[in-house]
Protein backbone atom coordinates (compact mmCIF):
# COMPACT_ATOMS: atom_id res chain seq x y z
CA UNK A 1 0.00 0.00 0.00
CA UNK A 2 2.92 2.22 0.80
CA UNK A 3 4.02 1.68 -2.75
CA UNK A 4 0.78 3.11 -4.06
CA UNK A 5 1.19 6.25 -2.04
CA UNK A 6 4.75 6.63 -2.91
CA UNK A 7 3.90 6.11 -6.56
CA UNK A 8 1.10 8.63 -6.51
CA UNK A 9 3.15 11.23 -4.68
CA UNK A 10 6.20 10.79 -6.79
CA UNK A 11 4.22 10.80 -10.01
CA UNK A 12 2.47 14.02 -9.11
CA UNK A 13 5.76 15.59 -8.10
CA UNK A 14 7.33 14.50 -11.32
CA UNK A 15 4.58 15.98 -13.48
CA UNK A 16 4.74 19.26 -11.57
CA UNK A 17 8.53 19.35 -11.76
CA UNK A 18 8.33 18.59 -15.47
CA UNK A 19 5.97 21.50 -15.93
CA UNK A 20 8.42 23.74 -14.07
CA UNK A 21 11.23 22.45 -16.23
CA UNK A 22 9.49 23.36 -19.48
CA UNK A 23 7.89 26.62 -18.46
CA UNK A 24 10.27 28.46 -16.14
CA UNK A 25 12.17 31.17 -17.94
CA UNK A 26 15.04 30.91 -15.54
CA UNK A 27 17.08 28.08 -16.95
CA UNK A 28 18.69 27.17 -13.63
CA UNK A 29 15.31 26.66 -12.11
CA UNK A 30 14.19 24.71 -15.16
CA UNK A 31 17.21 22.50 -14.70
CA UNK A 32 16.30 21.99 -11.05
CA UNK A 33 12.87 20.86 -12.24
CA UNK A 34 14.54 18.42 -14.59
CA UNK A 35 16.69 17.07 -11.76
CA UNK A 36 13.57 16.51 -9.74
CA UNK A 37 11.96 14.55 -12.58
CA UNK A 38 15.10 12.48 -13.01
CA UNK A 39 15.18 11.72 -9.34
CA UNK A 40 11.50 10.75 -9.40
CA UNK A 41 12.20 8.43 -12.25
CA UNK A 42 14.87 6.71 -10.16
CA UNK A 43 12.31 6.23 -7.40
CA UNK A 44 9.91 4.66 -9.88
CA UNK A 45 12.71 2.32 -11.02
CA UNK A 46 13.10 1.16 -7.44
CA UNK A 47 9.38 0.52 -7.36
CA UNK A 48 9.80 -1.50 -10.50
CA UNK A 49 12.61 -3.47 -8.85
CA UNK A 50 15.15 -2.29 -11.44
CA UNK A 51 17.78 -1.43 -8.85
CA UNK A 52 20.74 -1.33 -11.18
CA UNK A 53 18.96 1.07 -13.47
CA UNK A 54 17.87 3.20 -10.56
CA UNK A 55 21.46 3.62 -9.46
CA UNK A 56 22.58 4.22 -13.05
CA UNK A 57 19.81 6.82 -13.41
CA UNK A 58 21.05 8.73 -10.39
CA UNK A 59 24.68 8.53 -11.29
CA UNK A 60 24.41 9.23 -14.99
CA UNK A 61 21.46 11.55 -15.24
CA UNK A 62 21.75 13.53 -12.10
CA UNK A 63 25.46 13.13 -11.53
CA UNK A 64 26.52 13.79 -15.07
CA UNK A 65 23.89 15.12 -17.42
CA UNK A 66 22.21 17.58 -15.10
CA UNK A 67 25.57 18.84 -13.90
CA UNK A 68 26.65 19.21 -17.51
CA UNK A 69 23.62 21.31 -18.26
CA UNK A 70 24.30 23.49 -15.26
CA UNK A 71 27.88 23.95 -16.38
CA UNK A 72 26.77 24.83 -19.89
CA UNK A 73 24.41 27.43 -18.50
CA UNK A 74 27.11 28.87 -16.32
CA UNK A 75 29.61 28.92 -19.19
CA UNK A 76 27.24 31.03 -21.21
CA UNK A 77 26.80 33.38 -18.36
CA UNK A 78 23.98 35.69 -19.20
CA UNK A 79 21.89 33.00 -20.84
CA UNK A 80 21.12 31.68 -17.38
CA UNK A 81 19.57 34.84 -16.20
CA UNK A 82 17.93 35.88 -19.41
CA UNK A 83 14.63 37.56 -18.82
CA UNK A 84 13.17 37.36 -22.24
CA UNK A 85 10.01 35.37 -22.98
CA UNK A 86 10.36 31.66 -22.29
CA UNK A 87 8.53 30.63 -25.45
CA UNK A 88 8.81 31.68 -29.02
CA UNK A 89 5.96 33.19 -30.98
CA UNK A 90 4.65 29.95 -32.40
CA UNK A 91 4.19 28.27 -29.04
CA UNK A 92 0.46 27.77 -29.72
CA UNK A 93 1.35 25.24 -32.39
CA UNK A 94 3.40 23.38 -29.84
CA UNK A 95 0.38 23.27 -27.56
CA UNK A 96 -1.74 21.91 -30.37
CA UNK A 97 0.75 19.20 -31.32
CA UNK A 98 1.54 18.29 -27.71
CA UNK A 99 -2.17 18.25 -26.90
CA UNK A 100 -2.86 16.03 -29.88
CA UNK A 101 -0.06 13.76 -28.78
CA UNK A 102 -1.46 13.60 -25.25
CA UNK A 103 -4.93 12.78 -26.48
CA UNK A 104 -3.60 10.14 -28.80
CA UNK A 105 -1.39 8.51 -26.15
CA UNK A 106 -4.11 8.52 -23.52
CA UNK A 107 -6.55 7.06 -25.93
CA UNK A 108 -4.10 4.40 -26.89
CA UNK A 109 -3.23 3.48 -23.30
CA UNK A 110 -6.89 3.45 -22.35
CA UNK A 111 -7.76 1.12 -25.15
CA UNK A 112 -4.81 -1.18 -24.68
CA UNK A 113 -5.82 -4.40 -22.96
CA UNK A 114 -2.49 -5.06 -21.30
CA UNK A 115 -2.43 -1.71 -19.64
CA UNK A 116 -3.98 -2.81 -16.42
CA UNK A 117 -2.11 -6.11 -16.26
CA UNK A 118 0.00 -7.38 -13.37
CA UNK A 119 3.53 -8.58 -13.40
CA UNK A 120 3.76 -12.18 -14.55
CA UNK A 121 6.67 -13.22 -12.35
CA UNK A 122 8.99 -11.78 -9.74
CA UNK A 123 12.43 -10.56 -10.60
CA UNK A 124 15.32 -12.91 -10.11
CA UNK A 125 17.38 -11.77 -7.08
CA UNK A 126 20.53 -12.53 -9.10
CA UNK A 127 19.24 -10.39 -11.95
CA UNK A 128 21.92 -7.69 -11.89
CA UNK A 129 24.67 -10.27 -11.99
CA UNK A 130 23.01 -12.04 -14.91
CA UNK A 131 22.52 -8.74 -16.67
CA UNK A 132 26.21 -7.99 -16.37
CA UNK A 133 27.09 -11.37 -17.88
CA UNK A 134 24.52 -10.98 -20.66
CA UNK A 135 25.93 -7.58 -21.60
CA UNK A 136 29.39 -8.98 -22.41
CA UNK A 137 28.36 -12.43 -23.65
CA UNK A 138 29.09 -13.02 -27.34
CA UNK A 139 25.70 -14.62 -27.81
CA UNK A 140 24.08 -11.93 -25.67
CA UNK A 141 24.22 -8.14 -26.01
CA UNK A 142 27.89 -7.49 -26.57
CA UNK A 143 27.30 -5.83 -29.93
CA UNK A 144 24.69 -3.28 -28.80
CA UNK A 145 26.84 -2.65 -25.77
CA UNK A 146 29.93 -2.01 -27.82
CA UNK A 147 28.02 0.13 -30.29
CA UNK A 148 26.76 2.22 -27.41
CA UNK A 149 30.34 2.60 -26.11
CA UNK A 150 31.57 3.59 -29.52
CA UNK A 151 28.74 6.10 -29.77
CA UNK A 152 29.69 7.58 -26.45
CA UNK A 153 33.32 7.84 -27.40
CA UNK A 154 32.45 9.48 -30.72
CA UNK A 155 30.12 11.88 -28.97
CA UNK A 156 32.83 12.70 -26.46
CA UNK A 157 35.44 13.50 -29.07
CA UNK A 158 32.91 15.37 -31.17
CA UNK A 159 31.77 17.40 -28.23
CA UNK A 160 35.31 18.35 -27.32
CA UNK A 161 36.10 19.29 -30.89
CA UNK A 162 32.97 21.34 -31.37
CA UNK A 163 33.29 23.15 -28.09
CA UNK A 164 37.00 23.76 -28.61
CA UNK A 165 36.74 24.75 -32.28
CA UNK A 166 36.16 28.46 -32.30
CA UNK A 167 39.12 29.41 -30.18
CA UNK A 168 41.56 30.33 -33.01
CA UNK A 169 41.87 34.03 -33.74
CA UNK A 170 40.77 34.74 -37.27
CA UNK A 171 41.64 37.64 -39.53
CA UNK A 172 44.85 39.15 -40.91
CA UNK A 173 48.04 39.36 -38.99
CA UNK A 174 47.98 42.68 -37.18
CA UNK A 175 50.89 44.76 -38.46
CA UNK A 176 52.93 46.81 -36.13
CA UNK A 177 53.53 50.37 -37.13
CA UNK A 178 57.34 50.04 -37.17
CA UNK A 179 57.18 47.52 -39.98
CA UNK A 180 55.38 49.81 -42.31
CA UNK A 181 58.52 51.78 -42.97
CA UNK A 182 60.15 51.22 -46.33
Amino acid sequence: MVAYWIFALVSLLMVLAALVAVTNRNLVRATMGLVLVLFGNAVLFVLLEAYFLAVAQVIIYIGAIAILIVFAIMLTRHVGDAWGPAFHRAWAWAVVVAGGLAVGLLFWIAHWPAADGKAKSPVDPQYTKLLGKALVAPDGYVIPFEVASALLLAALIGAIYVAWGGRRVKGPYPQRSEEKEA
Binding site: V22, L27, A82, L106, A119, L131, G158
Partner: protein
Protein backbone atom coordinates in the same frame (compact mmCIF):
# COMPACT_ATOMS: atom_id res chain seq x y z
CA UNK B 1 0.37 -3.88 -7.32
CA UNK B 2 0.39 -0.74 -9.34
CA UNK B 3 -1.04 -1.41 -12.78
CA UNK B 4 1.15 -1.00 -15.83
CA UNK B 5 -1.23 1.64 -17.17
CA UNK B 6 -0.31 3.98 -14.28
CA UNK B 7 3.32 3.91 -15.26
CA UNK B 8 2.39 4.40 -18.85
CA UNK B 9 0.25 7.38 -17.94
CA UNK B 10 3.10 9.00 -16.00
CA UNK B 11 5.40 8.28 -18.86
CA UNK B 12 2.98 9.74 -21.40
CA UNK B 13 2.53 12.84 -19.28
CA UNK B 14 6.30 13.34 -19.06
CA UNK B 15 6.63 12.71 -22.77
CA UNK B 16 3.98 15.23 -23.75
CA UNK B 17 5.32 17.84 -21.36
CA UNK B 18 8.83 17.23 -22.67
CA UNK B 19 7.57 17.48 -26.28
CA UNK B 20 5.86 20.74 -25.52
CA UNK B 21 9.04 22.08 -23.94
CA UNK B 22 11.17 20.99 -26.87
CA UNK B 23 8.76 22.58 -29.31
CA UNK B 24 7.91 25.80 -27.61
CA UNK B 25 10.98 26.98 -25.73
CA UNK B 26 13.29 29.61 -27.12
CA UNK B 27 16.48 28.68 -25.38
CA UNK B 28 18.47 25.79 -26.76
CA UNK B 29 19.23 24.53 -23.24
CA UNK B 30 15.56 24.52 -22.47
CA UNK B 31 14.92 22.50 -25.61
CA UNK B 32 17.55 20.10 -24.41
CA UNK B 33 15.76 19.84 -21.07
CA UNK B 34 12.56 19.04 -22.91
CA UNK B 35 14.33 16.36 -24.86
CA UNK B 36 15.72 14.91 -21.63
CA UNK B 37 12.21 14.69 -20.30
CA UNK B 38 11.12 12.78 -23.36
CA UNK B 39 14.08 10.41 -22.99
CA UNK B 40 13.11 9.78 -19.40
CA UNK B 41 9.60 9.04 -20.41
CA UNK B 42 10.86 6.49 -22.87
CA UNK B 43 13.17 5.04 -20.26
CA UNK B 44 10.36 4.68 -17.82
CA UNK B 45 8.26 3.01 -20.46
CA UNK B 46 11.00 0.53 -21.26
CA UNK B 47 11.59 -0.41 -17.66
CA UNK B 48 7.87 -0.68 -16.96
CA UNK B 49 7.28 -2.97 -19.92
CA UNK B 50 10.20 -5.12 -18.89
CA UNK B 51 8.97 -5.49 -15.37
CA UNK B 52 5.39 -6.29 -16.33
CA UNK B 53 5.74 -8.22 -19.52
CA UNK B 54 9.07 -9.96 -19.55
CA UNK B 55 10.88 -9.78 -16.18
CA UNK B 56 13.10 -12.83 -16.91
CA UNK B 57 14.58 -11.39 -20.10
CA UNK B 58 17.27 -8.77 -20.57
CA UNK B 59 15.91 -6.94 -23.61
CA UNK B 60 14.12 -4.21 -21.72
CA UNK B 61 17.00 -3.49 -19.39
CA UNK B 62 19.54 -3.43 -22.16
CA UNK B 63 17.24 -1.16 -24.11
CA UNK B 64 17.13 1.17 -21.13
CA UNK B 65 20.89 1.11 -20.83
CA UNK B 66 21.26 1.98 -24.49
CA UNK B 67 18.80 4.84 -24.05
CA UNK B 68 20.86 6.08 -21.13
CA UNK B 69 23.98 6.01 -23.22
CA UNK B 70 22.33 7.73 -26.17
CA UNK B 71 20.92 10.40 -23.88
CA UNK B 72 24.30 11.04 -22.39
CA UNK B 73 25.86 11.30 -25.84
CA UNK B 74 23.07 13.53 -27.08
CA UNK B 75 23.41 15.88 -24.19
CA UNK B 76 27.17 16.08 -24.53
CA UNK B 77 27.06 16.89 -28.23
CA UNK B 78 24.06 19.15 -27.81
CA UNK B 79 25.72 21.21 -25.14
CA UNK B 80 28.95 21.41 -27.08
CA UNK B 81 27.04 22.67 -30.07
CA UNK B 82 25.24 25.06 -27.83
CA UNK B 83 28.49 26.52 -26.56
CA UNK B 84 29.96 26.71 -30.04
CA UNK B 85 26.84 28.38 -31.38
CA UNK B 86 26.80 30.78 -28.50
CA UNK B 87 30.40 31.77 -29.18
CA UNK B 88 29.77 32.31 -32.84
CA UNK B 89 26.41 34.07 -32.75
CA UNK B 90 26.44 35.54 -29.30
CA UNK B 91 23.06 33.97 -28.64
CA UNK B 92 21.58 30.59 -27.91
CA UNK B 93 18.03 31.24 -28.97
CA UNK B 94 17.21 28.39 -31.30
CA UNK B 95 14.69 30.31 -33.36
CA UNK B 96 17.25 32.92 -34.28
CA UNK B 97 19.61 30.41 -35.80
CA UNK B 98 18.47 29.37 -39.20
CA UNK B 99 21.62 28.38 -41.07
CA UNK B 100 19.92 25.32 -42.44
CA UNK B 101 17.41 27.43 -44.24
CA UNK B 102 16.86 26.18 -47.75
Amino acid sequence: MIPLGAYLMVSAALFVIGAFGALARKSAVAILIGLELMFNAALLNAVAFWRYLHPQGFDGTVFAIVILAVAAAEVAVGLALFIAVYRRFGTAEADEIALLRG
